[in-house]
């Protein structure tokens, strides 16, 4: 019963993550670029500006999110298959490869820096997630100790 049943098994979950990340990016991009296009348009053309900004930019944001999420999921599954265990390091290693793969056309230095940044970011996420789950799992109720009677100073 320790398995996480809210996520599907490995090869197929890549599709799910691709779609989920893409949808998140498109919907977030609609909000973001809608507001941006609205604010950056002259009066009288604000609605039109918002629509055209959404049309031009939201799919691109969605695509970027989707590629990141899908690549991460792919690497996560590969790392799981190679290491044969599930822990926080999987995400860090997968983040390292994802960051590197996405920056691979920018040269060796760019690839290395991006991979390390991405791995650190994922490490922070995992750490925060573990801390959160620990806090949520054990509500810290301070035990009530009987107070010691103050000693009378002689």
């Amino acid at each position: 019963m320790s398995a996480d049943h809210t996520r599907d098994p490995c090869p197929i979950v890549i599709l799910n993550d691709f779609g989920g990340a893409f949808a998140m990016g498109v919907i977030g991009g609609c909000v973001w670029h809608g507001i941006k296009g609205f604010r950056n348009s002259p009066y009288g053309e604000r609605g039109y500006g918002a629509i055209s900004a959404i049309k031009a930019r939201a799919p691109v944001v969605g695509g970027n999110f989707g590629v990141w999420g899908g690549l991460f999921s792919t690497f996560d599954c590969s790392v799981k298959a190679v290491r044969k265990r599930e822990d926080a390091w999987n995400a860090v290693i997968a983040g390292f490869f994802t960051g590197g793969a996405l920056a691979i056309r920018g040269g060796w230095r760019h690839t290395r820096n991006s991979a390390i940044t991405c791995a650190c970011l994922l490490g922070v996420f995992e750490g925060v997630g573990m801390m959160m789950s620990r806090v949520m799992a054990q509500p810290q109720i301070a035990p009530m100790y009987p107070e010691e009677s103050p000693k009378m100073a002689a």
Partner: protein, 210 residues
Amino acid sequence: MSWLFGSKPKTEEQSQSDLKQSLGFDPAQVADVSQILQTPGVLDSSRLHPLAGLDKGIEYLDLEDEQLTTVEGAQGIIPSRSWTDDLCYGTGAVYLLGLGLGGAYGMQEGIKNIPPNSPGKLQLNTVLNHMTKRGPYLGNSAGVLALTYNLIDSSLDALRGKHDDYNTVAAGALAGALFRSSAGIKPMAYSTALMAGAASAWCGIKRLLQ
């Protein structure tokens, strides 16, 4: 492979004798607790062990959030828990398809356009540039279309309470219309017809696969 292709939801009606077999008493005849405790063999330690009775098969606790979708006719190719699963899988598959097709098209375009007598690095760069020009554009458009289609489809399912081919085609037509709604009447009609056709083709493919 049942996790990949799904299966018809099983409706197992537990008969009374089965229930008596697994519980050790007949729930229809129980009046109070002492009656249960007096039943012979109910306090047998081999039956009270947590792993006892595994030979009769495991009784699964059907948790609320792990249930497959209960909408009539919506049990598709991939088992889905809710509309979010449909959305993620549909969008992801179509987006990847678009990305792959666009990338392949860009690749052959790039290979055709390689400047003559260029070094290998430049050749590789030309091909990659063409791929990254075509692939994401097609993938993004297809992904947005699939996202809209899935959102409308799930809404129609929820409204009508069931899922059938009319839903799919209507959702496709609406998604196509919305996609080109700002380009004018004629492009809108074209994309509506195209998406309705694609949706009905998908209906047929789903029939074949199931």
